[in-house]
Amino acid sequence: MHPLNPKPRQQVSGIKRWRRQRAARYAVLMLGLAAIAVVYAAVTGAGGAASAATPTGPSPADIAQGKAIFADTCSSCHGMNAQGTEAGPSLVGVGAAAVDFQMSTGRMPAKDLDAEMPRKPVTFTTEQIHQVAAYIASLGGGPAIPSAAMVSTAGADVALGQQLFITNCAQCHNFAGAGGALTYGKYAPPLTHSTPTQIYEAMLTGPEAMPVFSDTTVTPAQKRAIIAYVTKVRSEPNPGGFSLGRVGPVTEGLVAFLGGIAALVFAAIWITMKRREA
């Protein structure tokens, strides 16, 4: 009761009193959010827990959903039944792994028809990608998306991975996975952003110009070794300073001239400058 307000207050009911307290506002807010979350979860169903592992098998609903996305986004280049057109190859038999690789790296859907599709920001959620992958897999089989266990690097033989990488991968991707040039504007991309799953899938499916390294030739354990080597080396600090791109002597020579010689020429100019006499 305010001292300057002579009129006595009415008795306030219980709820109204509670409503006025500050904490009440926050409590309402929390309840509202929780309600939305529950409703959302109920509506979207059980697809929330996205993992690299495909669960027991794609459901018909997933395949149908994937077909719908495919019809919207991919069929213009790949054909209504994924049989291929001039713009895009047939996807029958490429397998879920290929679809997961192309879409999770953002290469697909492609924007410009270039010599090679670059990695781009991803436009679909993991769940949607799995649905499209399930649809494509239903058309003609092909390699499945590797499970989390298949791409885990725990206990992998890094030395074997180094040997396999140098023998089969470095000629395109460079010794540290920094990428390299191929013919006619194609290139082997750098491996800096590839997830272990993507590396596995790339080896398995041979995207674009990359050859295929099937599981019967390079076994899953060997693939894990390669993944272990790649992820280890790319995250390694450079003890000698900045890496200069990890492309080798070309950048080193540039730095020698533009850094070393330039600095010394400036020093020489300073040393031999004539002092202006008063």
């Binding site: 030395a159 390299g180 082997a188 080396v233 300073g241 080798g248 070309v250 020093a267 040393i271 031999t272």
Partner: protein, 564 residues
């Protein structure tokens, strides 16, 4: 100075002089005058880099094992644990990760090698473009070319010692090139490698060549190079009071000693800075050498880049005749482009001298613009070398700039022929244009920006004559007038012996081309005489007084132009 220091100095001096009669020569040495120009310090970059190479290299030899015996690695670098590798590679990993300061020393050593070669290149260019290779300095020029070649080999062998994937690939290419040489190639390859590639002998052999033989040669040649430079005195840039018969500058003691010492520390500091912040030759990422593996972007160090580019640019050309193979596609790029450049460079001082007939001593440098043909030829050579150099990095360029790979090679194949011609012509035109500008400045003076209206209504800009320093520089004439001239056609005169016959005619023509230039007006009046007083009379050896006039005795045009 204090009494004890004085006494100490005097005592030491007496001790040495009693035995060496050193007072007079050392005094001469201390008073020796060194001309001052920043471009004269480029050779010092090479010299001090070499000293740093010796120091850091010695450190490395205490830890490196030049052996190709295979071991299994169990050291500090975990991704390679359990991998089989040579002892050479394992010891390099050891230096990098298990020896304190080892990585720093390795990096300083490698950066110093790059700086050494880069400095040699720009020092060579400075000497060429200023004409400092002319008599009496031909020996130093030739020694310099040999030093360049030895430096390239030394660097190649040095970075091959760790036996890593990248440098091993380079050795493989070296072996393939060697093998392709007709008649002796296979024998050379088997003798060098002790059998088939890679064998077990190449690393220890390269080691002894790299730490003993070539450094010994380099030390001897660098000492000779410096001795000649001392004995003949350094050249100087044109300027007031500088003639062909003197040296103007500051004395060795204390000035030049202090400056050169400071520059040594600068070089060391720059190398240390590079080695702290710029990783070089990370052999742990390359992995040990294996002839079945290779990396994208395989390049040698930059000073071998032109050879690499030559190999890439060459079309497939091979002859198989009578059971023998001429692998032109390999030994032509390996021998011809650099052969042309090095031989041309070595012969150039003598060709230039022969063409012009100029046998006098030259101690004052030319401004590049005053020797348009020489500068043009130099730029053409740079373009030729540069095209090959860039082609050597074509896959990196293709990847980074997204230009298709084959397109780059085709561009290079055309540019290698067209580029030098265009560069020569453009450079020559630029030089002649600059000469015209200099002549204009001398005739008309420097613009002051002050506009004055004449009584007749005309506006003129006042000019003032160039100051004395600049006048001395501008007037230091272009490369001397041809001494050997052919008589005009139809004349009754008999040409000089040197100008007779097709070779003689070629000689006079070449001499005319080399000495082409814009005449500098003698007295600044623009009176149209164009008598080009900048050319000295030919002086033969043994009789000269060594004095070449800097230009005509000028009657200083006191304000004549300004008053117009």
């Amino acid at each position: 100075m204090s009494k004890t220091t004085d006494a100490l100095l005097e005592g030491t001096g007496r001790f040495l002089d009693d035995r060496l009669r050193a007072a007079r020569p050392v005094r001469g040495f201390l008073r020796k005058v060194f001309p001052d120009h920043w471009s004269f310090l480029l050779g010092e970059i090479a010299l001090y880099s070499f000293i740093i190479l010796l120091l850091t290299g010695t450190f490395l030899t205490f830890f490196f094992q030049p052996s190709m015996t295979e071991v299994v690695y169990h050291g500090a670098y975990t991704p390679l644990r359990g991998v089989r590798m040579s002892e050479a590679y394992a010891s390099t990993l050891n230096i990098s990760f298990d020896v304190r300061g080892g990585l720093l020393m390795r990096q300083i050593h490698h950066w110093a090698a790059l700086l050494f070669m880069a400095a040699i290149f720009i020092h060579l260019l400075r000497v060429f473009f200023t004409g400092a290779y002319r008599k009496p300095r031909e020996f130093n020029w030739l020694i310099g070319i040999v030093l360049l070649t030895l430096g390239m080999l030394e660097g190649l062998f040095g970075y091959s010692l760790p036996d890593d994937l990248l440098s091993g690939t380079g050795l493989r290419i070296t072996q393939g090139v060697l093998q392709s040489i007709p008649l002796v190639g296979t024998y050379g390859s088997f003798f060098l490698f002790g059998g088939q590639f890679p064998g077990h002998d190449i690393i220890p052999r390269l080691y002894i060549i790299h730490v003993l033989l070539i450094p010994g040669l380099l030390l001897a040649l660098i000492s000779a190079h410096l001795f000649f430079m001392f004995h003949q005195k350094h050249t100087q840039m044109p300027g007031k009071g500088r003639t062909n018969a003197n040296v103007v500058g500051a004395p060795m003691y204390p000035y030049f000693m202090a400056k050169t010492g400071a520059f040594f520390f600068f070089i060391f500091a720059v190398l240390a800075l590079l080695s702290t912040f710029a990783q070089i030759n990370p052999i742990w990422l390359f992995g040990p050498y294996n002839p079945s593996g290779i990396t994208a972007g395989s390049q040698p160090d930059f000073y071998m880049g032109a050879l690499e580019g030559a190999l890439r640019i060459m079309p497939a050309w091979e002859w198989n005749v009578f059971g023998h193979t001429f692998a032109f596609n390999v030994f032509i790029p390996a021998l011809v482009p650099l052969g042309i450049i090095f031989t041309g460079a070595a012969l150039w001082p003598f060709i230039e001298r022969w063409a012009i007939g100029d046998y006098s001593e030259h101690h004052v440098n030319d401004r590049p613009r005053n020797a348009p043909t020489r500068t043009g030829i130099g730029m053409a050579a740079i373009t030729f070398y540069g095209v090959l150099w860039l082609e050597g990095a074509n896959d990196i360029i293709a990847d980074q700039l997204q230009i298709p790979l084959y397109t780059l090679t085709w561009i290079a194949r055309i540019a290698i022929f067209v580029g030098p011609v265009v560069a020569y012509w453009v450079t020559k035109r630029i030089c002649l244009g600059l000469q015209r500008k200099d002549a204009h400045l001398l005739e008309h003076g420097v613009e002051t920006g002050i506009i004055r209206q004449l009584p007749s209504g005309e506006y003129v800009e006042l000019t003032k004559p160039v100051d004395e320093d600049m006048r001395a520089v501008l007037e230091w004439g272009r490369v001397g007038a041809p001494q050997i001239t052919a008589p005009p056609a139809g004349a009754d005169e008999v040409p000089a012996p040197g100008a007779r016959g097709p070779l003689g005619r070629a000689r006079t023509r070449l001499g005319q081309v080399i000495t082409e230039g814009i005449p500098v007006e003698a007295d600044g009046h623009g009176n149209g005489h164009g008598n080009g007083h900048g050319s000295p009379a030919a002086v033969t050896a043994g009789e000269q007084e060594g004095d070449r006039p800097a230009g005509p005795e000028q009657a200083d045009p006191d304000g004549e132009d300004a008053a117009r």
